[in-house]
Amino acid sequence: MKKFLSLGLVRGLFWQMLGTAVGIGFVTGVRWLMKLEAWKAEPAVVFGALIGALFFLYGVGAVDGWLKWAAGEETPEHVDESGLGWRRYFGTSLDHKVIGIQYLVFSLILMSVGGSFALIFRTELAETQMQFLSLNRYNTFMSLHGIVMIVSILLGIAAFMNYLVPLMIGANDMAFPRLNAFSFWIAVPAGIILLSSLFLGGFDTGWTGYPPLSARAPLGMQMFFLGVSLAGFSSIFGGLNVIATVIRMRATGMAAFRMPIFVWAALATSLISLTATQLIGLSFQMVMLQRLFGLGFFDPSKGGNPVLFQHLFWFYSHPAVYVFVLPGLGLISELLPVFARKPLFGYRWVAMSSLAIALVGFLVWAHHMFTSGMAEYLRVPFMYSTLLVAVPTGVKFFSWVATVWRGKISFETPMLFVLAGVIVFLLGGLSGPPNATVSTDLHLHDTYYIVGHFHDTMYGGYIFPFFAAIYYWFPKMTGRRADEKLGKLSFWLIAPSFTVMSLLMMRIGLLGMRRRIADYDPALGFQPFHLMMTVCAFLTAIGVLVSFINFIYSIKKGKSATGNLWNSRSPEWQVPSPMPAHNYDRPFEVVGEPYDYGLPGSRYVKFAGDKE
């Protein structure tokens, strides 16, 4: 019991409850002193949630190092956590591998929560008419599915960037370990606040939260805004850390064009999250202020403009989709050469295409607004810039097929997920241009076609590569291999059923199925399609569950795998698994190209003291 109470997470949650109570009490007290009606839920709960999050960070110990510095105390460079065992995963750790796994587990938890929300409203959609959900509940689940999945994805990419980037470039940790721990831990109260909206009236706006609707939604709306704003700090600080680490801490000889390709992807994605995330925070906080203090930013009766919100919102939220997919595409480029036993075709082009996508991604936001009523002439330049994204994306696809061409391809579980990623992302990519040309988009906008399109890009660009990466680096994290049979079973459950579901979404979208509706007109004849999609959704969920069972089982019972299981050239596989506490006991030097598979006698890295 004492051990349990000393866990950082438990202390953090206790402090969060305390902080929330203090915040609510403070606002109520001030109102009472000002002789206003003492209890007003919205300001009290918002302020309480904010203070609760800050108290959590103190309670969990995420600011201990900085407080000590402020008090003039020294902190050790390396903290020895080896005596803590599994308990170090439940408190503030400064080890990037521990933080990476913390991110990974939290991401999987949120993925289960967000996925369950989807199953709930997907079941409701299997029949026309409302079955068991109220309209407001439906909208709340639908909205939370979106934002919880987005936060889960942000945590998932942070997991692999944290775990892999230092290992791949030969650093012993991230550039700013305390900031790194802070970035992770702020996501925890953010997630709690986000989910609390479910119990505070929910919200009916979707994850986009467009005013004026969001200015009138229930109190849950504010928890959504606050949760996302806090989670944004995680992205911003995480991005900063990755950029500093990649620029400053590479091993000797690792020139920019000798970095593993995933590091390029992490860099490109971090540049976006460092510079764009502020805009979604800003747009959400403006609506919060509109609701709390009556500032009329988006209220036409006070001279505000609702369309302005959409510009601010999409200025982040479009580049954000590249934040989600660039690391996944990097993982595909990273793993294909290993399983095809061939160099990555056109390494430099692939690396540059990530940066090109990140750059062009900043100039396309208003393609989400072709029907919004913004200045009409703006639609044309945004159509041009959007179509341009196809060029660097095309380079990636061509390079991937050229990589497998004349390879010696084997089909272990990670490779299966990678290949599904390529094909599903292709479906997502090819369904994109009809949304880019304005006149066709005027039909497709806000329909299930869009829903199918972006689920394909998210599964192809994130979910499949993410599962590939878990199966691939599982031995590195645990010293054991995840079970192949269960892995393949999981794959064959997820990939076909998901693909069918997304194609059906596009099909009924073209025929007139709108997005975000709790019920649909039976006259349209969509009911059989919806039933099929619901079945597919459940098969996908069972597949994910099989993988979860596999991971839990294999941590303890999996086949021991301490060596270079995949016969990879990457430095982290040249040392035994699981990874030692401070990474490489002997520093390495880069002496060759990263992906020279098939070139006899070549190697990528040479460890100090190795024989020639």
Binding site: V307, P343, M383, T437, L442, D596
Partner: protein
């Protein structure tokens, strides 16, 4: 290099197969406007590109997975090919040209769908949670169904009364948001007689799914006849007219007629009573008060209720309509 001709054949057959498959299953609802023809034409160009690119990538990929798979007992690596800059330049330039081509025909297609006919029928569209409403200024009528004559362009001037909505008739293809505080425009030339539904496409709150309305495309004669009946019904009893308007605009969501407490004050027994206001004074609920409460709701706030909740209907209802609603309220004893 016996691989190349086989792959080329797979890609060719794949392209034709995918395109035939996609177009034969009936991808779209019927075309009921001239603009739909333009949209569908551009979509067909996209379908060809999609069929080709899908077959290209998946064709090569699947071929490689089968032919270049690792056989049982085989060890060693694949061919050591690092890349080929000529190829890279080639497959950067070809998509670039395809993109420029799409950009050109995309802009041309947008221009066609936005072509303006100066003789277009003017209709003002007002949306709110959760209703559609139309005014025909040429004929002085306002309705809750949209009736359009075939073959004549209609110029929809649209605004919203509360949150953002979006006007979409799938058979017409085009879609345009309705934004509070501004007027947006959508031009459609109906080309097929029939009954369709406008479906709100922008999430507008809990009952978004049910925000649908009837859209009829009729012959010119039927349209003229319909206009005439509508004009006559405008002369009906103002109390009845008021009751219709109240139902159309969903006033009952906030105002009860039986004394039930809702977001706004009840209408029961309102007329002729002394209404207490937030500033401590009272006001007599006469016709003038009722009218001013509809067109300028923030002028007098009833004690116990909040300002800025009810939108103004000054832009949405004309003078007779406001008077009709007031006349209806006066009957609620």
């Amino acid at each position: 290099m016996k691989h190349i001709p086989i792959v080329a054949l797979i890609i060719l057959l794949g392209t034709l197969g995918v395109h035939t498959g996609l177009t034969s299953i009936g991808l779209l609802p019927v075309q009921a406007s001239l603009q739909a023809v333009e949209v569908d034409r551009l979509l067909n160009v996209h379908l060809w590109l999609i069929s080709f690119l899908f077959s290209l990538i998946v064709g090569i990929l699947l071929y490689s997975l089968v032919v270049f798979r690792r056989r049982k007992g085989e060890t060693g690596d694949g061919a050591h090919i690092e890349g080929n800059n000529t190829l890279e330049v080639f497959w950067t330039m070809i998509p670039l040209f395809a993109v420029i081509f799409l950009a050109y025909i995309g802009a041309a297609s947008l221009g066609e769908t936005r072509r303006i006919d100066p003789t277009a029928l003017q209709v003002r569209v007002i949306a709110g949670q959760w209703y559609w409403r139309y005014q025909y200024p040429e004929y002085g009528i306002s309705t809750s169904d949209l009736v359009l004559p075939i073959g004549r362009q209609v110029d929809l001037q649209m605004t919203s009364n509360d949150v953002i909505h979006s006007f979409w008739v799938p058979e017409f293809r085009l879609k345009q948001d309705l934004v509070p505080g501004q007027t947006t425009e959508l031009r459609i030339t109906p080309s097929l007689i029939g009954e369709y539904k406008v479906r709100c496409a922008e999430l507008c709150g809990t009952s978004h799914a049910y925000m649908e309305g009837l859209v009829s495309v009729v012959s010119q004669e039927d349209f003229d006849a319909w206009v005439q009946t509508q004009q006559q019904s405008g002369e009906i009893d103002p109390v009845l007219r008021g009751q219709q308007l109240v139902a159309q605009f969903g006033c009952g969501a906030c105002h009860s007629i039986d004394g039930t407490e809702k977001t706004g004050p009840t209408w029961q027994g309102l007329f002729g009573s002394q209404v207490p206001l937030t500033d401590g004074s009272t006001i007599l609920a006469d016709r003038e008060y009722l009218v001013s409460s509809i067109v300028n709701p923030n002028l007098h706030i009833v004690d116990g209720y909040s300002p800025n909740v009810m939108p103004s209907f000054a832009e949405i209802l004309d003078q007779t309509e406001v008077e009709s609603i007031a006349a209806y309220i006066e009957t609620l004893k």
